[in-house]
């Protein structure tokens, strides 16, 4: 699962139930959550429950699931109830537990799938289209805006601050500071932060989500309603690229939000017609499901690199030497995060990947996998060609292994925040709780001898222990 999904997940799960009920009034939101956030089994449950008029006894649901997949079933159900998509009745002596879709989610998803209703939740296309706006223009626009933001983040490490472009707007700069991606303080090195480093190395979609979540958190202080903001974002994800949409159906705060989205390059508002907006590829890929996302974001990456010359530009040799055919300050600055750069020529920089340079990158919060995937995706076509001719992996395995080893060297301990459960009265109680924790996927460590175990979250387990007590 991509970084962006888990980040937006965590944010959503923190929202109160009321917010969810209001969010699910929009069919586009229900559809976006359904296609982007749910694993396949959870989707199957939702589809099966969608046209069911009465709550389904939980035991009937169990019969759909293979007995060996109880763990997957519990994880799916727990996710569905955390996102307030299903309600499960509390266990009691008289009635069996039942499960049903929450009313708003069910009716919205039915509307989204089969159409109908005057909800205008998927945006209203505007008919007088400006002729000169094709998708490549929108891609260029989105890229310029987004690269401007990235440049600003990197510029705090790069030596030459003025890079020709004027950089992002003041509100974006403030947001980057609020999100601790950059600092303006001169102390502690100043400029880019650890979070900023890992932000740079994420794929574009994850970067967009990071920025948006930052923005949402800040928007709450600016009197924006998080429900309107979120439903607008989910709507953007369902719009069509290269199509004009009317701003007349948007609410007041959504129209205010539009100006911020223009800053990010998520939407384009033509200067001549401010009642229209065009979503860019950054916006339309927001809520695509995982597989579609990969190809679409690959398409976007291709669009990103097409303008800057060649696609791949990095050659790395088995002796850890690295040659990068680029003159882009952004790319050089990113390379400098984990490489010891030696010489710079007009069209190329050369350097080495050393234990020290990797250790420095890791201390900034960059992982070895991020470095490796960056090198892999930006490998020079020649490197790709020779390796595929010989049937070898693109990057020299020695280098890949060594970068991983350097990381392990620095990771002396693995830390997992959570809760330690102890002092169980008897073995039976302990075993039941451990099994339950394992099934809902929160168990990280257990010791049968000590009758203790460690879990990442405790709410459901607490309810479970309570329900055992009442029996």
């Amino acid at each position: 699962m991509s970084v962006s999904t888990s980040a937006s997940f965590e944010y959503l799960e923190r929202l109160p139930g009321v917010t969810f009920r209001r969010l699910y009034q929009q069919p586009s939101t229900a559809l976006a959550i359904f296609r982007r956030m749910l694993p396949h089994l959870a989707k199957t449950f939702v589809m099966a429950l969608l046209y069911m008029t009465k709550p389904l006894p939980l035991t009937d649901l169990d019969s759909w699931v293979h007995p060996n997949s109880k763990r997957e079933r519990d994880q799916a159900l727990s996710l569905l109830s955390r996102l307030h998509i299903v309600t499960i009745t509390a266990p009691s002596r008289d009635d069996p537990q039942t499960v049903s879709l929450t009313k708003n989610f069910g009716s919205s998803l039915r509307l989204a799938l089969t159409g109908g209703g005057e909800h205008q939740s998927f945006g209203v296309p505007s008919h007088d289209v400006l002729a000169n706006l094709d998708t490549s223009y929108l891609d260029d626009y989105a890229r310029d805006q987004w690269e401007g933001i990235l440049h600003y983040v990197v510029a705090s490490v790069a030596e030459n601050r003025g890079l020709g472009s004027q950089g992002p707007t003041a509100s974006v700069k403030k947001l980057l500071e609020a999100g601790k991606l950059v600092t303006t303080g001169r102390h502690s090195g100043g400029g880019i932060t650890q979070a900023g480093f890992s932000f740079l190395l994420q794929e574009v979609n994850a970067q967009v989500w990071t920025m948006l979540l930052l923005w949402i958190e800040n928007a709450e202080h600016m009197d924006f309603d998080s429900v309107e903001v979120l439903s607008f974002l989910f709507m953007l994800g369902s719009l069509e690229l290269g199509r004009a949409y009317s701003t007349s159906t948007l609410s007041e705060s959504q129209r205010r939000m539009l100006t911020y989205l223009v800053d990010f390059g998520l939407v384009y508002v033509p200067p001549s017609a401010s009642t229209q907006f065009y979503p860019t590829r950054l916006a339309t890929t927001l809520t695509s499901d995982a597989t579609a996302l990969r190809s679409v974001s690959a398409g976007f990456e291709a669009a990103l690199t097409a303008a800057s010359g060649s696609k791949g530009f990095i050659i790395i040799e088995t002796n850890y030497r690295l040659y990068a055919y680029t003159n882009s300050p952004l790319q050089i600055a990113v390379l400098a995060l984990f490489t010891k750069l030696g010489t710079r020529y007009p069209n190329m920089v050369s350097g080495r990947i050393t234990r020290e340079s990797v250790a420095r990158a890791i201390s900034h919060g960059i992982t070895s996998d991020q470095i490796i995937s960056y090198l892999g995706t930006h490998a020079h076509p020649q490197l790709v060609k020779t390796s595929s001719a010989n049937g070898n992996p693109v990057l020299p395995p020695t280098v890949v292994d060594q970068i991983r080893l350097w990381q392990i060297e620095n990771e002396r301990m693995k830390a997992t925040p959570g809760f330690l459960f102890r002092d169980f009265e008897n073995l039976k109680e302990y075993e039941a709780c451990v099994r339950y924790a394992d099934e809902i996927g929160v168990l990280t460590w257990k010791s049968d001898a000590k009758r203790m175990f460690f879990v990442t979250r405790h709410e459901q387990l607490r309810d479970y222990i309570k329900s055992r007590k009442t029996k």
Binding site: M413, K414, F421, R422, Y430, T444, I465
Partner: protein, 71 residues
């Protein structure tokens, strides 16, 4: 009634664990529970401080490897 204690589960080599125990021995500000040779639970708010102390201790024990620079 079982008890739940908030904390951070640390999984590491026995050697690292013994260093953590040694750090904790000064004022017992870190460890909540020692579980076994390779796992222990520490207080959540002390994690960064523990990491820093551990890095200091390790730096003192390690000799930096000389990098031959061929550039």
């Amino acid at each position: 009634m079982p008890r739940a204690i908030r904390g951070v589960l640390i999984e590491c080599d026995p050697s690292i664990k013994s260093i953590i125990v040694q750090i904790d021995a000064e004022d017992h500000a870190y460890i909540v529970e020692e579980l076994d040779d390779q796992t222990l639970v520490v207080k959540e708010n002390m994690l960064t401080s523990l990491k820093m102390k551990l890095d200091e201790k390790l730096k003192a024990t390690q000799i930096p490897v000389e990098e031959s620079d061929l550039d």
